[in-house]
Homo-oligomer: 239 residues x 2
DNA sequence: ACAAAGGTAACTGCATACGGTTTGTTTCGT
DNA sequence: ACGAAACAAACCGTATGCAGTTACCTTTGT
């Protein structure tokens, strides 16, 4: 392959249009740049990316398959989750994320540790500066950092399919300063446990972290006022 | 909607070609009707279904996305799982399936209970008759029965993504009569716990069940002989 | 005879095109 | 003026066609 001293650079095969579009759209969805009222129409997105409908359509179908979007007869849109669906989602997260985080702590390498610490520092700074958006981004970065350290690829991708956490974080942190402080302190504790490579502590802390997020979420939505209550209004506010 | 006494029957909108093809192919993949040496080429499948390549292509991409297939530059094919990947898969199953089964036991309705019992009876009959294929089908039916009773849709679909169990069952049960008997008895115990609605017992039994399957699987592949050893040969034999 | 290089067939990925269905709007009737 | 029905537009799903790429086969040179 590599002849003489030539730099090969892996060349990482030009990503297909479908892949580019998928990655880009997913990133934007994770940033909540689309609200439940926005409709993603294939032909528009295609024009935006300078391609035809087909790769866009395939990317959208993939996002639907992963729960980021819901396909309707009239355009694709961000799904509006019912409280019951959020409860289901939290149940799965409670089952797998603590163990996954514990595994990550066990296998943590220096780079990932640095990433975690940086995210924790960012979160603290954003909290002090009352920079809501920066706080959210720091929390997302923290999550991405430990998730990237999970060696079990199937476990990591399974967790990655639960995109709801983004909404959860936004909803829980955007409004209440008290919640922001509690969440940031919890994140710092979690970070400390990671840096100590204390897998058991990480698991415990993660369990608490999810429980806290769940309580904050449902407290915001005064559970019981309507069983199938939707989260549309707040999500709109967040977007 | 429904005018006069007309029977509405939901009419269940004619499924799209993509959906039909996807469902059919997934069912066949779950039955291991394709081996790792078979290549699924879109144009062939399209001819087989009487459609064009596009819906087939989308169905294949979806199956790739769910791990049933792996897309190469030269046709789509059944992925060959390494031992490490199987270990990862078992780890996730250990995390979620016991709790999911326990939930199913809690929420079990009469129809699902009947399905479980029928599958258990079938398994016993197949065992006595030394009908390997029927035994496998009964075990798959049993799994489908309790999985269908899981109310948490996200949990159920998450479990459903791990298609490896089919291969595991095949590999573990096809060859060894002793393993077959142990597995069948474990299934009957599990079934009894389900029928008692004993959620805790179901969770425990499911934990044991998965551990047993895992041990049987790795015993068959004399772990350690090669770390990245592939499962190709046995899967061929099974298919 | 074997290896290397070039050619060819096959398959994927993307583009364009068309029909069907659903939705929103306008017009007509009461 | 309000409702219903017909019309128009938008968008999804599918078909076909074309180009690029990759693997396999053939051929040629040593």
């Amino acid at each position: 392959m590599a002849r003489r001293g030539e730099i090969v650079l892996e060349l990482a095969k030009p990503p297909s249009a479908r892949e580019r579009i998928y990655t880009e759209l997913r990133a934007r969805l994770q940033r909540c740049e689309f609200g439940p009222s926005d409709r993603l129409v294939d032909i528009d997105v295609a024009a935006r990316f300078g391609t035809s409908r087909m790769p866009v359509r395939e990317a959208l179908l993939q996002l639907v398959n992963e729960g980021y979007l819901s396909g309707t007869s009239r355009g694709f849109m961000v799904p509006v989750l019912s409280l019951a669906e959020m409860r289901d989602s939290f149940e799965v997260r409670r089952l797998i994320e603590p163990r996954a985080a514990a595994n990550a702590a066990r296998d943590l390498d220096a780079a990932a540790a640095a990433g975690l610490e940086a995210a924790a520092v960012d979160a603290r700074a954003a909290l002090e500066a009352h920079a809501d958006e920066a706080l959210i981004q720091a929390m997302i970065a923290f999550r991405a950092a430990w998730l990237g350290a999970v060696r079990n690829a199937r476990l990591a991708s399974t967790i990655g399919r639960f995109a709801d956490h983004v909404q959860t974080v936004r909803l829980a942190t955007l409004h209440d300063a008290q919640t922001q402080r509690v969440a940031t302190e919890g994140l710092e504790q979690l970070c400390a446990a990671f840096l100590r490579r204390d897998a058991l502590a990480v698991g415990d802390r993660m369990t608490m972290h999810i429980a806290t997020a769940e309580q904050a979420f449902f407290a915001l939505h005064h559970v019981g006022d309507s069983e199938s209550g939707l989260v549309a209004a707040q999500m709109q506010a967040a977007a």
